[in-house]
C-alpha cells in the first residue's frame, strides 16, 4: 500500500477499497447484521485512511460518500444501532459484527483502548455528526493531542445529538482500595504547595452599592457575546495575545526574551495558514517585521536572530504550500492578501513558489501558484525565464505557462523555441500555448518542429492544430515527411496527414495528389509508390470539394490493386457523406 506524505497533494492514489476490513464472514450473518458489519468496515476504513493518506485524497472522498450513504440507509431501517465495544470486536444485538485482531488496524481495539464501551447511533445522524466522529476517531488514530484533550474530553466537547457514547471517564480507585485507604494511608505524604493566602487580594475598590434589578439582555446581544468564542473570533484572540506579548517583550521589568515566546508566534502562524486566515496572517507578519525593526533590548541581544528565524520559517516550503492551498480548490483565484503575505515572508517569492511547485501535486494549488508567479513575473520576467531553463517536468511546464501569460516581446518566440524541448510535459505545454496564440510564422515553425519530433497522440494533436492554421506552406513539409517515411507510416497516420494536406491545399492541390495516384509502370495492376503515400493522397482528395477531386479518385480506383482500392473507396464514400450532410 502506498503511503502518502502529508501535504504532497490531492491527486488520487491507488487505495484498495477495503483497508481495514473485519474478519467476520459476512455470509454467515443474517442480512441485517451483515449490513451493520459492512457499515462498520467502512467506518474503520475511512477513519484509518486519514492516517495513511492526504485527507484531500479523492479516494477518501469516495469513502466518505459511501460511508454516509450506508449510515443513512442503515439507520433509516434500524432507527437505533447500539454497538458494544469489546477489545477486538464490536457486537450488535449480541452478534459479532466486526472482528479484527490486528491491533494496528482494528477499530474495535482502538475504541476499547481509548475507553469507549458502547456506541449508539440514532436515526438523524447526519453529516455534521459524522464529521465530528471521524475527526475524533482519526485524531486518536494518529495518537495526538496529549496535553489539552483526550478521547473522553473530545467526545464530551463534540456534543453529539444522535450518537450516544459511553466511555471511560477516567481512572478511579476501586471501592476496595478506597476502604483500605481510609484504614491505612499509604506511606509518604504528598508534598503540598502552599499558595499564598493573599493570592487573590487586594479587594477591588468599587463605588457605593446600588440595588441591582432584573435587566433582560436582548437575545442579539447575547448572541454577539457568544460569538466571541466562536472559531471565527479565534484569529482576533491570537493577535490580541501577541500584542500582550509584544508589550512584555518591550517591558524592561519583565525582561522577556523573544526565544521564550517564539513558539507561540509559530503556532499562531501555522494555525492562520491552516485555516486560511490570510488577513490576520499578514497582520502577524507585519507585527514580526516591526519587532525586527526595533532595537534589541539589552536583556535580549539575540532577539533579531530569533525573529528572523521565525520569519524565515514563515517562508519555508510547508508554509508556502499552505499558502497556495489557502485558496479553496473550486475557486482557484489568487487573492490579493496572499500576495501581501508573500511580500512579507519571501525575499524572492518567485524562487519560493517555484520550489513548492516542483513538488506540489494539487491542480488547484498549482493554478494559484502559477498566478502568483505571473504576478511577480510581470516585473521580473527574466527570473521566470531563468528558473524555467533550470527546471524540468511539471514545474517547467508551469513556468512556460506563466511565460505565455506574461506575454510581451519575445514570449511567443521563446515558447515556440521550446518545441524541441526534450521533456514531454514541456512539449505538451508548448502545444497548449501554441493552440491559444495568434498564428504566426514562429508558431508555424514550432508546430512543424513538434510534428517532426513527436509520435502517436501528440503528433495527431499537432496535425489537428496545423489543419486549423489554413497555412498551405505546411503541405510541402508534410509531403516531404510522407516521402521520407512513407514506408514506415501507419495507414491511420497517413490518412490523417492526407486529410490535413487536403484541407490546407484545397482544389489547387488536386493535380499533386493525382500525380501521387499515378498507375504503376509496366503491365502490373496497381498504383505507383508505397501504400501510405497512396492513402495520403486519397484522403487528401477526400477533403477537397469539387468534381476534379472525385474524378481523380475514380480514375485511381480503376488502376488500384485490392489493398489501395479499399482506401480510395473509403475516400469516395467520405466525400459522398459530406456532400449528403
Amino acid at each position: 500500500m502506498t503511503q502518502q506524505v502529508e501535504g504532497q497533494g490531492a491527486e488520487p492514489l491507488p487505495i484498495p477499497d477495503e483497508v481495514d476490513g473485519g474478519e467476520v464472514e459476512g455470509d454467515r450473518l443474517a442480512p441485517r447484521h451483515q449490513r451493520v458489519s459492512e457499515l462498520l468496515t467502512k467506518l474503520a476504513t475511512t477513519a484509518r485512511s486519514f492516517l495513511l493518506y492526504d485527507p484531500g485524497n479523492a479516494a477518501i472522498h469516495r469513502f466518505l460518500s459511501s460511508l454516509l450513504e450506508t449510515f443513512l440507509t442503515t439507520l433509516r431501517d434500524e432507527r437505533r444501532l447500539a454497538l458494544a465495544v469489546r477489545p477486538f470486536e464490536l457486537h450488535f444485538e449480541g452478534r459479532v459484527v466486526y472482528l479484527n485482531h490486528d491491533r494496528e488496524r482494528s477499530l474495535a481495539f482502538r475504541l476499547y483502548r481509548d475507553g469507549v464501551r458502547t456506541l449508539t447511533f440514532y436515526e438523524g445522524f447526519q453529516w455534521e455528526e459524522l464529521a465530528r466522529l471521524l475527526e475524533i476517531l482519526s485524531i486518536r488514530y494518529t495518537s495526538i493531542r496529549q496535553r489539552e484533550d483526550d478521547m473522553v474530553t473530545l467526545l464530551w466537547r463534540a456534543g453529539f445529538r444522535h450518537l450516544e457514547v459511553v466511555a471511560v471517564e477516567g481512572i478511579v480507585p476501586d471501592e476496595r482500595s478506597e476502604a483500605e485507604e481510609a484504614a491505612a494511608p499509604a506511606s509518604a505524604a504528598r508534598p503540598a504547595l502552599a499558595l499564598p493566602d493573599d493570592m487573590d487580594l487586594p479587594r477591588p475598590a468599587l463605588p457605593p452599592p446600588v440595588g441591582p434589578t432584573w435587566v433582560t439582555v436582548p437575545e442579539e446581544r447575547l448572541e454577539s457575546l457568544r460569538a466571541e468564542v466562536w472559531g471565527s473570533a479565534l484569529p482576533g484572540d491570537c493577535l490580541a495575545l501577541l500584542e500582550h506579548l509584544r508589550r512584555q517583550l518591550a517591558d524592561p521589568e519583565a525582561m522577556l526574551r523573544f526565544s521564550e515566546v517564539a513558539h507561540i508566534f509559530q503556532e499562531v502562524r501555522d494555525y492562520l495558514l491552516t485555516e486560511h486566515h490570510l488577513v490576520p496572517l499578514k497582520a502577524l507578519l507585519v507585527f514580526l517585521w516591526n519587532l525586527a525593526n526595533e532595537e534589541q533590548p539589552a536583556w535580549d541581544l539575540g532577539r533579531h536572530a530569533v525573529i528572523y528565524d521565525v520569519l524565515d520559517s514563515c517562508g519555508d516550503r510547508p508554509a508556502i504550500r499552505r499558502l497556495l492551498r489557502s485558496v479553496p480548490p473550486d475557486e482557484r483565484q489568487l487573492r490579493p492578501e496572499l500576495l501581501k503575505v508573500l511580500d512579507c515572508i519571501c525575499p524572492d517569492p518567485v524562487a519560493a513558489v517555484a520550489d513548492v511547485l516542483s513538488e506540489e501535486r494539487s491542480a488547484a494549488a498549482r493554478a494559484v501558484g502559477r498566478q502568483v508567479l505571473e504576478h511577480y513575473g510581470v516585473r521580473r520576467p527574466e527570473a521566470i525565464h531563468k528558473r524555467f531553463l533550470e527546471a524540468d517536468g511539471q514545474l517547467a511546464s508551469d513556468l512556460l505557462r506563466v511565460i505565455g501569460r506574461i506575454g510581451g516581446e519575445g514570449s511567443v518566440a521563446f515558447i515556440a523555441s521550446q518545441s524541441s524541448h526534450p521533456d514531454p510535459a514541456v512539449q505538451d505545454e508548448v502545444l497548449w500555448q501554441l493552440g491559444r496564440m495568434p498564428y504566426s510564422g514562429s508558431v508555424g515553425r514550432a508546430l512543424l518542429e513538434i510534428f517532426r519530433r513527436s509520435v502517436g497522440d501528440r503528433r495527431s494533436r499537432v496535425l489537428e492544430m496545423i489543419a486549423r492554421t489554413h497555412d498551405s506552406r505546411f503541405i510541402d513539409h508534410l509531403a516531404e515527411h510522407v516521402d521520407q517515411h512513407g514506408g514506415s507510416l501507419s495507414p491511420d497516420e497517413a490518412a490523417q496527414i492526407g486529410r490535413v494536406m487536403g484541407m490546407l491545399g484545397g482544389e489547387a492541390s488536386v493535380d499533386r495528389w493525382q500525380e501521387w495516384l499515378r498507375p504503376a509502370s509496366g503491365r502490373r495492376r496497381g498504383l505507383e509508390g508505397p501504400l501510405p503515400r497512396i492513402i495520403t493522397a486519397a484522403l487528401a482528395l477526400s477533403e477537397i470539394p469539387g468534381e476534379r477531386a472525385a474524378e481523380a479518385l475514380g480514375e485511381a480506383f480503376d488502376f488500384a490493386d485490392e489493398g489501395s482500392q479499399s482506401w480510395i473507396l473509403g475516400a469516395l464514400a467520405q466525400r459522398q457523406r459530406r456532400r449528403t450532410a
Binding site: 486519514f50 491491533r103 483502548r113 453529516w127 459524522l130 475527526e135 482519526s138 495526538i144 493531542r145 496529549q146 496535553r147 489539552e148 484533550d149 474530553t153 466537547r157 456534543g159 457514547v165 466511555a167 471511560v168 471517564e169 477516567g170 481512572i171 478511579v172 480507585p173 476501586d174 476496595r176 483500605e180 484504614a183 494511608p185 499509604a186 506511606s187 509518604a188 504528598r190 508534598p191 504547595l193 499558595l195 499564598p196 493570592m199 487580594l201 487586594p202 468599587l206 463605588p207 457605593p208 452599592p209 432584573w214 435587566v215 439582555v217 446581544r221 447575547l222 457568544r226 466571541e228 479565534l234 491570537c238 500582550h244 515566546v261 503556532e267 501555522d270 494555525y271 491552516t274 485555516e275
Partner: protein, 465 residues
C-alpha cells in the same frame, strides 16, 4: 454540507489537531515511561535471583534511577497507574508491542500481589533506594487485606514513594448523587490544583488535561444545580484560601457561562482558564504583574489549541476594565474573581455580605464590568445571592440558598430559617415567593457582626442535600 466540505473540514481539523500536539513532550513521556516500566519490572525480577549486594543490580538500578530522574524533571511527581492490562504514566498510556505485553502484565502482577494498583514517585530515587524498593516488592506479600499497608510501612528507606490502591476505569453514567459529586469534584479539583501549581512553580511544562477533566465534571454537576456555584465562595471545607479562590472563580465562571448559553466546549475552556487565572501569584508577589507572570508560566505549553490561546489572553486581561476591550473569558473572570474576593471570608478583613458585594459590583457595571454579563450574573444570583443572611419581615433570620429564578422571583429567594437562639443550625427550607403575602426580606444582615457563621450553615445545607 457536501462530501467536499466534509472532507475539507476534516482535513483542517486534522491539521489543526496535529498542530496541537506537543510531539516532543508526549514522545519523551512515552519513551521514558516505557523504559521505566520495563526496568522496574526487571529490577523486581532480579531481586528474586540475587543477593542485595550482587553487582547484577548496579547497571539496571542506575539506569532506572536516571530514567526516573528524567521523568521527575519533566513531570514533577511521576504516577505509575495500572488499570486492567494497561499501564499509564501521568495519564499517558504506555504503548507496547504485542510481544511486550507479557512484560507489562508481569509488572501489573507484581504490584497486584501486594494489592497495589499504582506507585507515585514524588522525587527521583537513588539506585540503592530503588534496589530497596524492588527487594520489598519481590518479597512475599503481607496479610491479605493489609498487604499494601504493610508494604507501605516498610517503605521509609525507599524514599518519597506513595503506594496507591487498585484502580479501575470509571464509565460514564455511574454517577453518585449530584451534591455528593459536587463535593467530590471540589475535593479532586483541589488535589489537581495542588499538583498542577506545584508543577508550574517548579518550571515544568503546563498540563491542563487533568484540570480539564475536573472542569468537565464541574460543568455537568452545575447543570443540575447552579446554586452550588454561587455558594462555593462562602464554603470553607478545610482548604487554603488560594485553592478555594481558584475553585470558586471556576464555579462562578462556569455558572455565568452557562447563563450566557456558551457551548460545553467553550465552558470547559473557560473553566480551565478560571482554574489557572491566578497562577502568576505562585511566582510573582506584585499583584499588578501577576496576570503577565501567569501567562508567562502558561505559555510554556507547546502546541496550538484554541483553549490555550484564549486562556493566555484572558490571564493577561482578567483585571482590565471594559474600556480596554478584554476578551469574553477575561470579562467573565473579572466578575467571578471580584465577587469571590469580596465575599470570601479572610482573616483580618471585614466580610462583605454577598448582596452588598453584588450591589457594589452592579454600581460599577459599564465601567469596570461588562454590563450585559453583569446583568446575567445578577439574574443567576438573584437580588440576595446564596449565602446572604436576611432579616425577614417577621424578625426571623434566614440564609438564602437559591439564585435568581426568573424576573418574578428575583427578589424572593428560597431560604433556610436560622434560629436566633442557636445560629449554628438551620430549619426547613422556605420559598419566600410562595409566602410573599405574609413574609418578605426586610434587610440584609452582616453575619459576622451577628456572630453567624454562614459558611458552616451552607456546609450543613449542601452536605445534607
Amino acid at each position: 454540507m457536501s462530501v467536499d466540505s466534509l472532507q475539507r473540514g476534516l482535513q483542517r481539523a486534522l491539521t489543526r489537531a496535529r498542530q496541537a500536539d506537543d510531539h516532543l513532550l508526549a514522545g519523551r513521556i512515552r519513551e521514558q515511561g516505557h523504559r521505566l516500566v520495563f526496568l522496574f519490572n526487571g529490577l523486581i525480577r532480579i531481586s528474586r535471583l540475587y543477593n542485595a549486594d550482587n553487582a547484577a543490580f548496579e547497571e539496571p538500578a542506575r539506569e532506572l534511577s536516571d530514567t526516573l530522574a528524567s521523568l521527575v524533571d519533566l513531570l514533577g511527581a511521576v504516577h505509575l497507574v495500572c488499570v486492567e492490562d494497561q499501564v499509564y504514566i501521568n495519564d499517558v498510556r504506555i504503548r507496547v508491542q504485542p510481544h511486550e505485553q507479557e512484560v507489562l502484565s508481569g509488572l501489573i502482577e507484581e504490584l497486584e500481589r501486594h494489592e497495589i494498583g499504582g506507585i507515585s514517585f514524588h522525587a527521583a530515587l537513588t539506585p540503592p533506594q530503588l534496589r530497596s524498593l524492588a527487594r520489598l516488592m519481590s518479597a512475599p506479600p503481607g496479610t491479605s487485606g493489609r498487604a499494601r499497608a504493610e508494604l507501605a510501612g516498610q517503605l521509609a528507606e525507599a524514599g518519597d514513594v506513595e503506594l496507591g490502591g487498585r484502580y479501575r476505569f470509571r464509565v460514564k453514567g455511574e454517577r453518585p448523587r449530584t451534591f455528593l459529586e459536587h463535593g467530590e469534584i471540589q475535593r479532586r479539583g483541589a488535589a489537581v490544583l495542588r499538583d498542577t501549581l506545584g508543577s508550574l512553580a517548579a518550571h515544568r511544562v503546563p498540563n491542563p488535561l487533568p484540570i480539564r477533566r475536573v472542569v468537565i465534571d464541574l460543568v455537568d454537576s452545575l447543570k443540575a444545580d447552579p446554586a452550588h456555584a454561587a455558594a462555593v465562595p462562602l464554603r470553607r471545607p478545610g482548604r487554603g484560601p488560594g485553592e478555594q479562590h481558584l475553585l470558586s472563580v471556576c464555579s462562578l465562571s462556569i455558572q455565568l457561562g452557562q447563563a450566557l448559553g456558551l457551548s460545553d466546549a467553550a465552558l470547559s475552556d473557560l473553566g480551565v482558564t478560571a482554574m489557572l487565572h491566578d497562577v502568576g501569584r505562585v511566582q510573582e508577589s506584585d499583584w499588578n504583574r501577576h496576570g503577565a507572570a501567569g501567562a508567562r508560566i502558561l505559555l510554556h505549553q507547546r502546541g496550538f489549541h484554541e483553549g490555550k490561546m484564549r486562556r493566555l489572553r484572558a490571564v493577561f486581561e482578567h483585571h482590565q476594565p471594559i474600556a480596554e476591550r478584554p476578551s469574553l473569558f477575561a470579562r467573565i473572570l473579572h466578575i467571578a474573581d471580584d465577587y469571590d474576593v469580596l465575599i470570601a471570608p479572610r482573616p483580618g478583613l471585614p466580610q462583605i455580605p454577598p448582596a452588598t458585594a453584588q450591589a457594589s459590583m452592579w454600581a460599577a457595571r459599564g465601567t469596570e464590568y461588562d454590563p450585559d454579563l453583569m446583568a446575567l450574573f445578577v439574574q443567576t444570583m438573584g437580588l440576595y445571592p446564596p449565602g446572604s443572611l436576611l432579616e425577614l419581615s417577621d424578625g426571623c433570620w434566614a440564609v438564602t440558598v437559591s439564585g435568581g429564578r426568573g424576573p418574578e422571583r428575583f427578589a424572593w429567594p428560597r431560604v433556610r430559617i436560622v434560629s436566633r437562639s442557636d445560629v449554628t443550625t438551620v430549619a426547613e427550607e422556605v420559598d419566600l415567593y410562595e409566602c410573599r403575602d405574609r413574609l418578605r426580606p426586610r434587610r440584609v444582615v452582616n453575619p459576622v457582626s451577628q456572630g453567624v457563621d454562614v459558611a458552616q450553615l451552607l456546609e450543613a445545607v449542601f452536605s445534607a442535600a
